[in-house]
C-alpha cells in the first residue's frame, strides 16, 4: 500500500503524499476542505463578534445594545454559529473523512463547487437580510413571527447546498468501495463521519419540510402553517442538526486522540454500535423542545424525550468512556504506568489539539451532557423551559464541546492541508484553555441565572421588577465568561488567518510537532490489547461522572417537587 498510496485509487487523479503522515491527499478534496474551512472560520468570527455584543448586553450593568439591535444580533449570532460555521466546517470534515483515510479521490469537483456556491450564496443572503433589519425573528423564526422571504430562501439554499455536499461524500464512499481503494472495514473516523452524514440528511429533509411552506407563506402564496406543527418539524431540524455536531465531534475526538497520543478504540464493535444508536434514536430529541407545549400528550413526551429509553445518551456515555480509555491504554503501553493517574499528568497538555480535545470531552460530558439529559426530562422541563438554563446547556455542548473540538482539529488541519506551520505557537498553546474556561464561566452564569427564573432571549430583566442581586451577579459572570471566550475565539481566528498568509511553508517536510508523549524505555505497542482491566483511571473517572450526573439529576427532581402541583 505504501507505494500506491499517492495514486488515490484512480490513476491520473491529482494527489500528493503528506510529508508528515505519509498518507495520500486528494487535491480536489484538499481545495474544498480549504474553501469550506475558511468560510466556516469567517462565519465563526462574525458569530463571535455578535456573541460579544450579546454578552455585553445581557450583562445587565453594561447593557450595551438598544432593544432592536439586541434581537437582530441574537438572530445573527444563532444563524452564524449554529448553522453556518458548523455546516461549512462539517462539509470540510466530510470531504477529509471520505478521501484520505480511504485512500480515495473526491467523487466530483463540479458537485463540490455547486454545493459550496449554494451554501455561500444562501449564507450571504441570510446574513444580509438579518442585518438589514428584515428578519428579527430569532434563529427559530417561530410562526406567526414572519421574516423577509430571503431569510427562508437563504436557509433553504444553505440546506440544499449542504445536502449536495453530503451526496458527494456518499458518492465518494461508494466509488472507493466499488474500486477497492481500500481493504477491510472503513476506519472509525470515517464511520463516525458517515453516521453524521446520515443524520444530516434526515435533519435537512426536516428543514425542507418546514422551511418551504414557510417561504411560500412569506411570499403570500399559501396559508400560514400551524404554529404547533411548525415547532415539531422545525426542531427536527434544530435539535437534530446539533446531533450531527455531536457525531462529528466524537469522530474528531477519535481522530485527534489517535494523532496525538496514538490512541485507538478499545473495542471497535462497541464504538460503532454506539454511532448506530445515534442514527436510530437521536431524531426523537426534537421532542425536548415541546415538553411544556399544548397539544402533545404525556406519553408522547416521555417516549420521545427519553430517546426511547435514553439509547442515544447511552451512546454518548460509551464514547465518553472509550476515548479516554483508548488514551489510557496508549499511554500505559508507552510506559507511563505509575499509579492510577500517572498517565494523565504525562499527557501533552501544551499541545493545543490535545488540550482542546480533552477540554471538549470534559465540558461536553460533565456540563453539557448532564444538564442536557436533566433539562430534557419531561417534568423537570417545567422549571427550565425557555429560561437561561437552556442556552446554559447548549453553549457547553455545541460551543465548549463541538466548536472547541473543531478548533483542536484546526491545529492539525491548517498545517497538513494548507501546508503552513502555525505562527505564534506559544499563543496557540493557551488558546483552548482561554476559550474553554470562558465558555464554562458563561454557561455557569446562564445556568444559575436561569435557575433564578431569568428567561433566555430577553433584552432586559429590570422591567419585570422580580429579579434580585443574585440574578444580576450571575449575568455578570455570563458577561465576563463571554468576553473571555470571545478573546479565545478571536485569537483562534487570527492565528488561523495569519498562518494562511505568514506561516512558514511546509512542502515535503513534516509539520511542526505540537508535542506528543514519547515512548519510554521498555514500552511495547499493543502489549495491553488483551488486558481488559488496564483502564483503571478511566473507569474511576467514569464512575465519578456518573455520581455527578445522579446528584444533579435528583437535585432537579427535588427542586421540581417544591413548585405548585400542576397537570
Amino acid at each position: 500500500m505504501s507505494t500506491s498510496s499517492h495514486n488515490l485509487a484512480a490513476p491520473g487523479t491529482p494527489g500528493r503524499v503528506c510529508g508528515t503522515t505519509g498518507l495520500g491527499v486528494c487535491l480536489d478534496a484538499q481545495r474544498f476542505i480549504k474553501l469550506n474551512a475558511v468560510c466556516g472560520i469567517v462565519f465563526l468570527l462574525l458569530g463571535g463578534i455578535a456573541a460579544l455584543l450579546l454578552a455585553l448586553t445581557r450583562w445587565q450593568t453594561v447593557h450595551l445594545l438598544p432593544v432592536d439591535w439586541f434581537y437582530r444580533i441574537l438572530t445573527f449570532h444563532g444563524i452564524n454559529m449554529l448553522i453556518l460555521w458548523i455546516l461549512f466546517f462539517e462539509v470540510a470534515i466530510l470531504y477529509f473523512a471520505c478521501t484520505t483515510p480511504l485512500n480515495a479521490r473526491l467523487f466530483s469537483r463540479k458537485i463540490a463547487w455547486a454545493s459550496f456556491l449554494m451554501m455561500l450564496v444562501g449564507a450571504v443572503m441570510v446574513d444580509y437580510i438579518i442585518l438589514a433589519g428584515q428578519a428579527d425573528v430569532m434563529m427559530t423564526s417561530y410562526l406567526p413571527l414572519l421574516a423577509h422571504p430571503l431569510f427562508y430562501l437563504g436557509i433553504i439554499l444553505v440546506a440544499v447546498g449542504t445536502l449536495t455536499g453530503v451526496f458527494n461524500f456518499f458518492a465518494t464512499l461508494y466509488v472507493a468501495k466499488r474500486d477497492h481503494a481500500y481493504e477491510g472495514s472503513m476506519p472509525i473516523v470515517t464511520f463516525g463521519a458517515t453516521a453524521a452524514a446520515i443524520i444530516a440528511v434526515v435533519t435537512l429533509l426536516h428543514g425542507a419540510v418546514v422551511m418551504i411552506p414557510t417561504f411560500t407563506y412569506s411570499m403570500g402564496w399559501t396559508a400560514q402553517p400551524d404554529p404547533a406543527w411548525y415547532r415539531l418539524i422545525w426542531w427536527g431540524l434544530g435539535h437534530q442538526s446539533q446531533q450531527v455536531n455531536v457525531c462529528a465531534m466524537v469522530s474528531v475526538w477519535y481522530l485527534l486522540s489517535h494523532i496525538v497520543v496514538g490512541a485507538r478504540p478499545i473495542n471497535e464493535a462497541v464504538c460503532r454500535t454506539a454511532f448506530v444508536l445515534y442514527i436510530l434514536f437521536i431524531n426523537l430529541a426534537s421532542a425536548h423542545h415541546l415538553l411544556v407545549d399544548p397539544g402533545v400528550g404525556a406519553t408522547w413526551k416521555i417516549w420521545n424525550t427519553s430517546y426511547a429509553m435514553y439509547l442515544a445518551v447511552l451512546a454518548s456515555m460509551v464514547h465518553g468512556f472509550t476515548v479516554p480509555a483508548g488514551v489510557e491504554i496508549a499511554m500505559r503501553e508507552k510506559g507511563y504506568t505509575s499509579g492510577i493517574f500517572g498517565w494523565v499528568t504525562a499527557l501533552p497538555w501544551k499541545n493545543p489539539a490535545f488540550s482542546a480535545t480533552a477540554l471538549s470531552l470534559v465540558i461536553f460530558g460533565f456540563l453539557g451532557g448532564i444538564t442536557g439529559v436533566t433539562l430534557g426530562t419531561q417534568q423537570i422541563n417545567i422549571i427550565a423551559h425557555n429560561t437561561l438554563r437552556i442556552p446554559g446547556h447548549f453553549h457547553v455542548t455545541v460551543v465548549g464541546g463541538t466548536t472547541l473540538a473543531f478548533m483542536g482539529l484546526a491545529y492539525y488541519v491548517v498545517p497538513l492541508i494548507f501546508q503552513r506551520d502555525f505562527i505564534f505557537r506559544g499563543v496557540a498553546r493557551v488558546q483552548p484553555w482561554l476559550f474553554g474556561i470562558g465558555i464554562t464561566l458563561l454557561s455557569f452564569g446562564m445556568s444559575f441565572a436561569g435557575s433564578m427564573g431569568v428567561s433566555r432571549r430577553s433584552w432586559d430583566i429590570d422591567a419585570q421588577g422580580v429579579y434580585g442581586p443574585g440574578a444580576h451577579l450571575w449575568l455578570g459572570v455570563l458577561g465576563i465568561g463571554g468576553v473571555l471566550a470571545f478573546i479565545g475565539l478571536l485569537v483562534f481566528a487570527l492565528l488561523c488567518v495569519g498562518t494562511l498568509f505568514f506561516g512558514a511553508k511546509i512542502e515535503q517536510r513534516a509539520m511542526f510537532d505540537w508535542g506528543t508523549p514519547p515512548a519510554l524505555a521498555g514500552s511495547k505497542s499493543g502489549s495491553l490489547a488483551n488486558d481488559h482491566y488496564a483502564t483503571k483511571g478511566t473507569i474511576i473517572l467514569a464512575l465519578v461522572f456518573l455520581a455527578c450526573f445522579a446528584v444533579y439529576y435528583f437535585a432537579n427532581w427535588k427542586a421540581l417537587a417544591d413548585v405548585w402541583p400542576v397537570r
Partner: protein, 183 residues
C-alpha cells in the same frame, strides 16, 4: 488504528472495565426512563399538554365573559418601566375555570386565587407565541395562538407572583408581564 481501514477481525463483545461501564450506563438509563412514568403517577408536577383548538377571536370572547363575571377590582402596575399599566383583577370560583390571554405585551387579566384550591387555567395567545413563566416560582409553559392550553394548577404558597413572557414576541417582549395573587 483510527485513521486507516481495519483489515483484521474487529467484532468482539465488551469485556473487563468496558463491560462494567456499559452495565452501569444501561442501568442508569433504565432508572432515568422509569423516573418519568413514576412521576406521572406519583409526582404532582406534570405537563400533560391538555389543549383544544380555538380561534383567537373566540378565546378573546371567552376571556371577556370571564372578566365580566369575575372582576373584583383593578390592578395598577407600580414597576417604573413596565408597558402594562392597568389590568382588571379577577377571582375565579374555587375549582373553576380561569382565562389568561397572552398578547403583545401583557398577560390579561390579573388573577386572584385561593391557596390550596385547584383551578383550570386556560392559556392562549391572540397574536404571536408567548411563554408563560411564573416568577419567582420559575414554572414555565408554552402558549400558542390557536390552542387553548389548560393547566390544572393548585397554588400552594401565598403572595404576589409575576408572569413573565419567555418566548420572544417583539420589541416589548422583555417588559411583557402579568400578575397572580394568592391569598
Amino acid at each position: 488504528m483510527s485513521l486507516r481501514p481495519l483489515t483484521t477481525p474487529w467484532f468482539h463483545g465488551p469485556a473487563g472495565h468496558e463491560k462494567i461501564w456499559l452495565g452501569c450506563a444501561i442501568l442508569w438509563c433504565f432508572v432515568m426512563s422509569l423516573m418519568m412514568p413514576y412521576w406521572h403517577f406519583r409526582g404532582k408536577q406534570n405537563s400533560t399538554g391538555e389543549a383544544y383548538t380555538v380561534k383567537p377571536a373566540d378565546f378573546f370572547a371567552r376571556t371577556e365573559k370571564f372578566v365580566a363575571a369575575n372582576q373584583v377590582g383593578t390592578y395598577k402596575n407600580q414597576t417604573g418601566n413596565a408597558l402594562m399599566g392597568e389590568l382588571p383583577l379577577c377571582e375565579p370560583p374555587a375549582g373553576g375555570d380561569a382565562y389568561l390571554i397572552g398578547r403583545m405585551w401583557q398577560w390579561y387579566p390579573a388573577l386572584r386565587l385561593r391557596q390550596g384550591e385547584t383551578y383550570r387555567l386556560h392559556l392562549s395567545s391572540l397574536d404571536l407565541q408567548h411563554g408563560f413563566s411564573l416568577q419567582p416560582l420559575n414554572m414555565n409553559f408554552q402558549v400558542l395562538p390557536g390552542y387553548d392550553h389548560v393547566l390544572t394548577i393548585t397554588p400552594t404558597s401565598k403572595g404576589e407572583f409575576t408572569i413573565v413572557c419567555n418566548e420572544f414576541c417583539g420589541a416589548g417582549h422583555h417588559a411583557m408581564s402579568g400578575k397572580i395573587f394568592v391569598e
